[in-house]
Symmetry: C2
Subunit: 159 residues, 2 copies
């Protein structure tokens, strides 16, 4: 991988924000299970469980729960690249130990760059083809990932 | 990932050989396109093209050609973990730049450990489920990867 990652607009979706918090706090929010539970899915959906094994090939697991508690969705991802306070890359195309998954959808690149007293927060979703990228956009990528970024920005002020 | 990798016999297939060559030579054979072309597919099939970008997230591409020249098969894989002379991990579940692929099948872990004056060569194929593992075995994993290991062992004596 070459960084900074250059997204391909035909295949990738990019959400960018300047967040009024140092990147060290955003890093902690992204890499600590108890923090992830507080902001990682658009409310009123909940993250009821989170497991993190922060190394390349390690597990990033979240359990999402519907507001009425009737629906849960477990997602097992694998970390690929970890540069503390700067870059976090994970994918659902692999399970922990780099095992291929049965349901590949995205690789995510989270980039944290200093911007004045805050942080330029860039979340990129990388897809296998244009159809998958366009579906993701129609499913509400910008609303969903935007809401999550807003929740993250609000949450880090409390930690 | 934790090493040494512990394969799961329900999900993984392992080919092991002691090769009468130092592991530095095996490493060169695995990571140099002109070498890879000489041994990487069971003869009389050929590798007619190979491209290697030896870094995590980098491309490992091979083009296989049938003996009559009528059939070719391009395979795009992505390197995950690289420890020179010791370990090479790549997958077809991702394309270069960690992009999910449309056709995930295996992650491969190639391990080179000193053994007397030679090398213990271990090639592990990691699958997503038992069905995929069993299909791979029935497709001839042990014959195919065994022949390739024999070709590799013979070839490194010439470089």
């Amino acid at each position: 991988m070459t960084y900074p990652f250059k997204p391909d607009p035909r295949l990738d979706l990019v959400l960018e924000r300047v967040v009024d918090a140092p990147r060290e706090l955003l890093w902690r929010a992204w890499t600590t299970p108890d923090h992830v539970k507080q902001w990682f899915t658009p409310k009123p959906w909940l993250i009821t469980d989170c497991e993190i094994d922060l190394k390349p090939g390690g597990l990033f697991r979240t359990r999402m729960q519907s507001p009425d508690g009737k629906e849960t969705n477990d997602r097992h991802c694998c970390y690929l690249d970890i540069v503390p306070n700067e870059r976090l890359v994970w994918t659902d195309a692999l399970l922990p130990g780099y095992r291929p998954s049965g349901d590949p959808f995205i690789t995510a690149v989270i980039s944290l760059q200093p911007d004045g007293r805050g942080t330029r927060y860039t979340a990129t979703a990388i897809h296998r083809d244009e159809a998958t990228r366009n579906n993701h956009e129609e499913m509400g990528f910008f609303d969903g990932w935007g809401t999550v970024a807003d929740q993250l920005a609000a949450y880090v002020k409390t930690i």
